[in-house]
C-alpha cells in the first residue's frame, strides 16, 4: 500500500487535479468556467512536463 502511495502514477493525477481546482479561478474573469478549468489544467500539465524533464536531467539512466 505504501509503495503504491509513493508511486508517481498515484499522486501525479491527484496533484494535477488539485492544481487545476486551485488555478481555475484565476482565469474565471477572462474565460467561461469550462475554458478556465481547461486553461488551469493545461498550466498544471505544462508544469508536470517541466518537472518530468527535470527528473530526466537528474536521473537520465532511469528513462
Amino acid at each position: 500500500m505504501m509503495t503504491r502511495l509513493l508511486h508517481i502514477r498515484f499522486w501525479l493525477p491527484l496533484l494535477i487535479v488539485a492544481g487545476t481546482l486551485v488555478l481555475a479561478p484565476l482565469f474565471r474573469s477572462a474565460q467561461p468556467p469550462l475554458q478556465s478549468y481547461a486553461l488551469a489544467l493545461l498550466l498544471c500539465c505544462t508544469a508536470a512536463i517541466s518537472v518530468y524533464l527535470f527528473a530526466v536531467i537528474a536521473q537520465p539512466e532511469k528513462f
Partner: protein
C-alpha cells in the same frame, strides 16, 4: 614462445564469407510490417515516456487533437474554422511520433528477426546423460543441469553448452556461425574444448560436461542480447539524453512564457501555434533517432558475426585509444610454417630433420605438423617407435615441447634460450653458431626454434611468419584516428621488432607471457586510455575482463567468452579493428545527427516566429517569403516530421566512416551536418510551403 597451442585454431578450411548464413538478413517486407505495427504500439504513453523529447511531442499531439475536436476548449473566442488547421497540425505531430517510433522499431526489428533465427536452433532434443554408476539414461535436454555428463555421437544435436571431457569429433557450428566447414572439437584443448548447444556433431563421439543450466546457455544469451532485452542506455546516450532534456526544458519554458508576452502585444497566439513552435524548436530529429542509432550500431556489429553483450561495449569501441593485439593470427597469418632447417655443431640438415621429426611427432599444432612435413620431405624417419614414446606438451613456462622415447632420450624443440638452458642443464655445450642462426632467422622476421636431442644441440628450424596483406594500411588508418597499436608476441625481441616494423604497429612486447597482457592493459588504463583486446584461452580471461573492450573468440574457452564483452563467432582476431571502426562510426553518426537536428532550429525559427507575431511588425523576419502564417507553421511542422524518415537510412547505416582525427572529424561534421542542417530546412520549408499553396490545403 612460438609454438604456443593458444594460437591453434582447429578449424577446417573455411568457405568464403558469402556462404555464411548466420544473421541472415530478414525479409525486408516482414521487417517493415513489424516495424509499422510496433510504431503504433509505441504510442502507448508508458513507452513514450522513456524518450523526453518525443514525450513532449506526444503531449503536444494530445493537446492539438483535443483542440481539433473542440477548438473552443481553451478560448471561448476561438472560431470553429480553426478546426481544419488544428487537425492538420495534429496529424503532422502524430506523423512525427510515428516516424520516430518506426525508426526505433525498424532497428529493433532486425535484432528480433535475428533472435527468431537463433531460436529455431534451440529445438529440444533427447540427451544421453551418464549417471555416476556409468549407466546411461535418456532425458530431455531441458532436464540437463550444469555439471551433468552427457554422451553425444555422430548426427546428434548437442543438447546444451558444455566442455569436452573425452573424445574428438567434427562439429557443425553453422547454426550459430554460418560457417559451413565443420570444426574439430577435442578434450583437453584450450580453444577447441567447448561446444555450444544447438550445434550438431557430425562424426565420432564426445563426452561433455554441461556448463550451463537451461535458459542460460550461449544461444539464450545471444537471443536476449540481439532482441535488446538487456539493452540499457550507454554513457554517451545518457549524456545526450540530458542535453536533449535540457534543450527541451529551456524551449518549454520559453514557449510557455511567450503567451503572456504576446498578450501584452495584443496578439495572443493560439495554443496550437505555440505547440507547433515548441515542437519545431526542440531537437525532435535526434530525439526520434537516438535509440535507433544505438540499436543499429549493435546490429552492424552483429552483421560482422560478432555478438556484443551491450551497447556500452560497442560504444566503448568508438572511444578506444589503444589496441592490444596478438601477433599470431591477428597481424600475421595464423599458421607459421617450417621453411628451412639450419644445422649447427657439425650436424647435417638430414640429422637435424630426424631430431626435429622426433621432437614434433606429437605436436598437433599447424607449426608442429609443418615441421613433420618438411622433415619427411627431406627423407627423415621417426627415430623411435611412437607407441612406446610419450609427448611433452608446450607450456608458457617451459617454452618448449617434444617427446621422450622409450629408452629415455629427450627430443625437444622450443625458444632458443629455453633450449639452451635445457641443453646446459643436461651437461651439454651450446655451439656459438646457434646465435648466428638465431639472428639470421630473426632478422628475416621468422621464428627460430632450437632443436636438441638430450644434451646435444642440433640446430634451428626457421618458421616463416607471413604478415597479413593490407594490415599495414589498417594500422595507418588507426594511427590517423589516434589509436595506438601494441603487438604482443612470445617471439624474441629481434623477430618481434622486424614484424612490428613491417606491420607498422606503434609498439611491441616480445617474449610476452599471459600476465604481460593484463599488465599492458592496466598500464594504458592508468594513463586514462581505453583499451581493446582479443583473446581465446582461459589465461586470457583476466585480461579480457580488464580491457574496456574484450573480444573473445567463439572457438575459445567458456571462461574467455564469459569474461569478454563481445564474442566473435568467426574466431577472427583481426575483426577487432572492424569493431573499433563500427564503434567510431556509431559515435560519429550520433554527433552528426545531433548537429543537424540543432542546426535545423534556425530555419524553423524564421518560419514560425514571423507567423506567430503576424501583424506586429515582425514581417521582416519572414525571409523565406512564406505564403501565410498558417502555411508557414504547417510547412515547418511537415518538414520536422519528414526529416525523420529521410534520415532513418543514415541512422541505421551510419555515417560513412573516414579515418580522420577528432579535430578533423569535428570540422567536417560542422561543415556538412551543421551547415547542411541550417540550409536544408530553408529549402525544404519553402518547397513545402509552395506545395501547400498549390494544393490549397490552407
Amino acid at each position: 614462445m612460438p609454438t604456443s597451442t593458444r594460437v591453434l585454431f582447429p578449424r577446417m578450411p573455411r568457405g568464403p564469407r558469402q556462404e555464411r548464413r548466420y544473421l541472415e538478413r530478414p525479409r525486408q517486407q516482414g521487417l517493415l510490417q513489424r516495424a509499422i505495427v510496433e510504431a503504433f504500439r509505441k504510442l502507448d504513453p508508458r513507452l513514450a515516456v522513456a524518450n523526453p523529447v518525443m514525450f513532449v511531442v506526444w503531449c503536444g499531439t494530445v493537446l492539438c487533437l483535443a483542440l481539433t475536436i473542440e477548438p473552443r476548449l481553451l478560448d471561448a473566442a476561438a472560431g470553429a474554422r480553426e478546426r481544419g488547421f488544428n487537425a492538420l497540425i495534429s496529424l503532422t505531430l502524430l506523423a512525427t511520433l510515428l516516424f520516430a517510433n518506426f525508426a526505433e522499431a525498424l532497428a529493433e526489428g532486425r535484432g528480433k528477426a535475428q533472435a527468431d533465427a537463433l531460436r529455431r536452433t534451440q529445438a529440444r532434443t533427447q540427451a544421453r546423460r551418464q549417471l555416476p554408476d556409468g549407466s546411461i539414461e535418456l532425458v530431455d535436454s531441458s532436464a540437463l543441469r550444469r555439471g551433468d555428463v552427457v554422451l553425444v555421437q555422430g548426427g546428434d544435436v548437442i543438447p546444451a553448452d558444455g566442455e569436452v571431457i573425452a573424445g574428438v569429433a567434427s562439429v557443425d557450428e553453422s547454426a550459430i556461425t554460418g560457417e559451413s566447414a565443420p570444426v574439430l572439437k577435442e578434450a583437453g584443448s584450450d580453444v577447441a574444448g567447448s561446444v555450444t548447444g544447438g550445434t550438431r556433431i557430425l562424426s565420432d563421439q564426445l563426452t561433455l560436461r554441461i556448463s550451463a543450466d537451461p535458459g542460460k546457455g550461449f544461444i539464450d544469451r545471444m537471443i536476449a542480447l540481439v532482441e535488446g532485452a538487456e539493452r540499457s542506455k550507454t554513457p554517451n546516450e545518457i549524456a545526450l539524453t540530458v542535453l536533449l532534456a535540457v534543450l527541451t526544458q529551456v524551449f518549454l519554458i520559453a514557449v510557455a512564457t511567450l503567451s503572456p508576452v504576446a498578450g501584452f502585444l495584443q496578439k495572443p497566439p493560439s495554443v496550437v501555434t505555440l505547440v507547433a513552435l515548441l515542437v519545431a524548436l526542440i531537437p525532435t530529429t535526434i530525439g526520434g533517432l537516438l535509440s535507433a542509432i544505438g540499436i543499429a550500431g549493435m546490429d552492424r556489429v552483429a552483421q560482422f558475426n560478432v555478438i556484443a553483450t551491450s551497447g556500452r561495449a560497442v560504444e566503448a569501441c568508438g572511444d578506444v585509444n589503444t589496441l592490444v593485439l596478438d601477433k599470431t593470427g591477428t597481424i600475421t597469418l595464423g599458421n607459421r610454417l617450417a621453411e628451412e632447417f639450419l644445422p649447427v655443431g657439425g650436424y647435417s640438415s638430414a640429422e637435424l630433420a630426424v631430431v626435429a621429426y622426433g621432437a614434433s611427432c606429437f605436436d598437433q599444432t599447424p607449426e608442429g605438423r609443418s615441421i613433420v612435413r618438411l622433415a619427411e620431405k627431406l627423407g627423415a624417419a621417426l627415430p623411435f617407435e611412437p607407441a612406446s614414446a610419450s609427448g611433452i606438451d608446450f607450456s608458457a613456462r617451459t617454452r618448449m615441447s617434444g617427446s621422450d622415447s622409450a629408452d629415455g632420450i629427450e627430443f625437444r624443440k622450443g625458444a632458443v634460450d629455453a633450449i639452451k638452458g635445457f641443453v646446459r642443464s643436461r651437461g651439454g655445450v651450446v655451439p656459438d653458431q646457434l646465435d648466428q642462426c638465431f639472428e639470421q632467422v630473426s632478422r628475416l622476421g621468422g621464428t627460430p626454434l632450437a632443436v636438441c636431442r638430450g644434451a646435444e644441440l642440433y640446430g634451428v628450424i626457421y618458421l616463416k611468419d607471413i604478415i597479413k596483406p593490407g594490415i599495414r594500411e589498417r594500422f595507418d588508418q588507426l594511427r590517423r584516428m589516434g589509436i595506438r597499436t601494441v603487438m604482443l608476441t612470445g617471439d624474441n625481441p629481434i623477430t618481434a621488432g622486424v614484424i612490428a616494423r613491417e606491420a607498422g604497429v606503434d609498439d611491441f612486447i616480445a617474449e610476452a607471457t599471459p600476465e604481460d597482457k593484463i599488465a599492458v592493459i592496466q598500464q594504458e588504463q592508468k594513463l586514462g586510455k581505453l583499451v581493446a583486446m582479443t583473446g581465446d584461452g582461459s589465461n586470457d580471461a583476466p585480461a579480457l575482463a580488464q580491457a574496456n573492450v574484450g573480444v573473445a573468440m567463439n572457438s575459445g574457452t567458456q571462461a574467455a567468452k564469459e569474461a569478454a564483452n563481445m564474442v566473435d563467432l568467426d574466431s577472427d582476431p583481426t575483426k577487432l579493428i572492424d569493431i573499433v571502426t563500427i564503434g567510431k562510426q556509431l559515435l560519429i553518426t550520433r554527433g552528426a545527427l545531433t548537429t543537424f537536428s540543432i542546426a535545423n532550429d534556425i530555419a524553423k525559427y524564421f518560419a514560425i516566429l514571423p507567423a506567430l507575431f503576424a501583424g506586429v511588425g515582425l514581417q521582416a523576419l519572414n525571409v523565406m517569403r512564406l505564403a501565410s502564417p498558417q502555411s508557414a507553421i504547417l510547412s515547418a511542422m511537415v518538414f520536422n516530421a519528414l526529416i525523420i524518415p529521410a534520415l532513418v537510412p543514415l541512422a541505421l547505416k551510419g555515417v560513412k566512416f573516414r579515418p580522420l582525427s577528432a579535430e578533423q572529424l569535428l570540422r567536417r561534421n560542422l561543415l556538412v551536418y551543421g551547415a547542411g542542417g541550417v540550409v536544408a530546412p530553408f529549402i525544404g520549408i519553402k518547397l513545402i510551403d509552395l506545395a501547400i499553396g498549390a494544393l490549397r490545403l490552407i
